[in-house]
Symmetry: C2
Subunit: 460 residues, 2 copies
């Protein structure tokens, strides 16, 4: 394959006319995004004028209006909202972590995890038991755990080349509260899921498991630097105590919306291609939800402008969807799947999600194997000039609700090395997104969607 | 090829035993660099304790001592210096650019380019003629140019996927002074070679061409933001004047050194593998020469530690070279080539340079084609898990002096999207190098050198 591609790049005369035409169109697509795209300006606007936007918040409502307007500006034929009821958890204002040892008091960078219960009004203060796995917690058992704060000091393994794999192996520790409570713990503190060694705590959703215990204890995250400090202090001071405070709360569900912008197909308007990201973001003060997932929102909205500006005349209907509530409920994805299930006269031929940040393109993931995967891999030579691989992938959280309807799943998966430096943390800001990397991502999605529109999805 | 690789990843049993063993060793190499490497700490030390280090400066001398010590610490059998006489150009302290229009005065971010002559002691003030190419300058000719500052406002084309190609197309405008002087210009100001739109001027070497004129006029760079401002002002104010000042100077050549650290080969000690970067860096206040090329220095020094720590027992002699004076003379590369030419009993089988920054690995470049290129491409499957392509490449500036001796040239070429955000500018600092990206680069070089050591270079 590679050898063929090298030939193809050196000797275009060998190319099939059709492949040559596609390569020229794809070059135009990349040029558009690198020269004229509004993605970077849109990201600035979303980050600075809307900011962090957790489901149920006023900023999330503002983001819905923002996305509706941005899709209209981008040239959608029609823009509409799909309602959903979303969870409404609020962080509160005064979360705090302090270590007490040898008469000293030391602040630690912590944040309460999304969905957690609050501490008692006066906070809680208790000894700390450090563990490195659920098994270690079970072995220690009630005699050691009762009355303690359990500190899940689990390293984010650096040896996975794709950092998402490290996340998949460690994220469960955010939801260790029920297991800890089973043994009488009063709270949990989990090392942040990050490759960085800085002092930013990283939030994210946590779950309680009634099957283990109905007792709910507060669950916090601590920064990587804070985890190292805490572990070192505990080695020296067995009787060190941690003070934790949060006044977070879970309020009644709120009405909200996903935003859809369509470009009607010229030949097969009932064949639907979905491209989307999620509009909600985590909520730590200072965060702007830039990489997660402002990037996916502006990259997919830009598809509308590019199809029109380049006069690509999509045969099939392009639906750009800004999904609400990916971070703590996926209610937007569920509501859209229900709508799609009711559109009896329409057929979804593809759904692609961008939710891995605004980094240099690496792969387009195809959630398929065998002949289906090979059908899309035939397009690989067209992506070689852009260093993009087409390979087996995973789809995305929001579009995963369409799997039951048999909708083929695709993902845009850029280079992952820096993603967890910013993921769910206060430093996920516009300034940490590189303009070219953002634009190359949008161009890669555009090129792949163009080919699906032109040749259709795999048919048995 | 790709298809084979996917099979290979799914079904290791299909692998040749030898390929399987190599894949396991390469996995160990990547793990070492991601878990135990000293690269990031060494980069911190070089950036913060030595800093910017232009040839001939006291910091460059300090860098030589630093590299010698770092190679000894990394476990080199022998460390030695190779002397060279280097140019000694100094920036001076008070460079300045100011635009005068409609009775207003506006500071612009400029810096004088390396090798330029100074302005008159009192500075110079003149009208500005904006051009976008050498052809435009020639068309305007002496009637328009005499007595003016020529402003080369040439865009850094965003559509090249590899940003180095954009650089190759625009860098010549740094050396437009002699052509401008031919038509009577008093100075040149060239838009910085960058993909960014910020206010950092980017320096770099400029050359005068006696064949055009022996008259030397000062040559400045202006930031991208400054260039946009200047261009906008000139549209409104034809009579705007630019004031420029620099007290830079070219002093007599200075003695300096490249630093070599060797690991003697266990079977073929007279076969030499060179891996290196350049020790000197540009000099703008605040710059630390991090990406250019502190990264190449620490990545290649880490090869010594990794070969020992992993007990790879190199058959051939590994020479890690910190070359002096790549930025404005390549005297270190020349001096080394002279040494190599005199080592009659030794044969250089490979030279690899890392001088494209500390970004996520993309390709190992092989400066060859035909059967030679295919020989190295056979190793492609081993690099698929790390998203690294083996393809035709260019070698590097320092090792290019070995081409005349028939030494095969290789380069490490990481993702290039962010390189020119920092290249030769004051923001080329440690903080802008991501630890994982740096380490993955060192691991990729290590894996490729391991294979060259094991299987040797291509033989006809």
């Amino acid at each position: 394959m590679l050898r063929f591609v090298v030939m193809w790049m050196c000797l275009p005369v060998f190319l099939l006319a059709q492949e040559k035409q596609d390569s020229l169109t794809i070059r135009k697509i990349y040029n558009y995004h690198l020269e004229e795209s509004h993605s970077h300006q849109n990201l600035y606007d979303l980050c600075k004028n809307v900011g962090a936007r957790l489901s149920g918040s006023p900023q999330a409502a503002k983001a819905v209006e923002w996305a509706k307007n941005a899709m209209q500006q981008a040239g959608a034929d029609t823009v509409y909202l799909i309602p959903c009821q979303v969870p409404h958890w609020v962080r509160g204002s005064k979360e705090k972590g302090q270590l007490f040892y040898q008469g000293k008091k030391e602040d630690l960078s912590v944040c309460v995890l999304g969905g957690s219960v609050a501490t008692p009004k006066q906070g809680l203060r208790a000894k700390v038991v450090e563990v490195h796995s659920f098994d270690e917690l079970k072995q220690l058992g009630e005699t050691h755990i009762r009355g303690a704060v359990v500190f899940f000091n689990v390293s984010f393994p650096p040896t996975y080349i794709h950092t998402g794999d490290a996340y998949a192996h460690t994220v469960k520790y955010r939801s260790g509260a029920s297991l800890a409570a089973q043994y009488g713990a009063v709270a949990t503190v989990t090392k942040s899921m990050t490759t960085a060694t800085d002092d930013y705590p990283h939030t994210g959703v946590m779950h309680y498991y009634d099957t283990l215990t109905t007792k709910k204890i507060p669950a916090f995250a601590i920064s990587a630097a804070g985890a190292a400090t805490l572990s070192a202090r505990l080695l020296q001071n067995k009787n060190a105590e941690l003070f934790l405070f949060s006044d977070c709360a879970t309020l009644p569900d709120e009405p909200s919306y996903s935003v859809v912008g369509e470009l009607r197909g010229h030949e097969f308007p009932n064949e639907i291609m979905v491209v989307g990201g999620h509009l909600d973001s985590w909520d730590l003060p200072g965060s702007e939800g830039a990489h997660d997932d402002g990037v996916g929102i502006v990259q997919t909205i830009e598809q509308l402008r590019a199809f029109k500006k380049l006069n690509l005349k999509n045969k099939r209907t392009l639906r750009v969807i800004a999904f609400m509530n990916e971070e703590n409920g996926t209610r937007g994805g569920e509501a859209y799947a229900q709508v799609a299930a009711q559109e009896k006269n329409k057929k979804h031929i593809a759904a692609l999600e961008s939710d891995m940040g605004g980094f240099t393109p690496r792969t387009i993931g195809v959630e398929a194997q065998g002949d289906t995967l090979l059908y899309y891999k035939k397009w690989q030579p067209l992506f070689e000039p852009y260093f993009v691989l087409i390979k087996k992938g995973y789809g995305g959280e929001d579009i995963s609700r369409l799997v039951a309807l048999g909708v083929p799943q695709f993902d845009f998966d850029p280079d992952s090395q820096r993603y967890f430096d910013f993921h769910h943390a206060a430093n996920d800001t516009f300034e940490h997104v590189n303009k070219r990397e953002l634009e190359l991502g949008a161009a890669t999605i555009n090129a792949f969607i163009y080919l699906i529109d032109k040749y259709g999805a795999y048919k048995k």
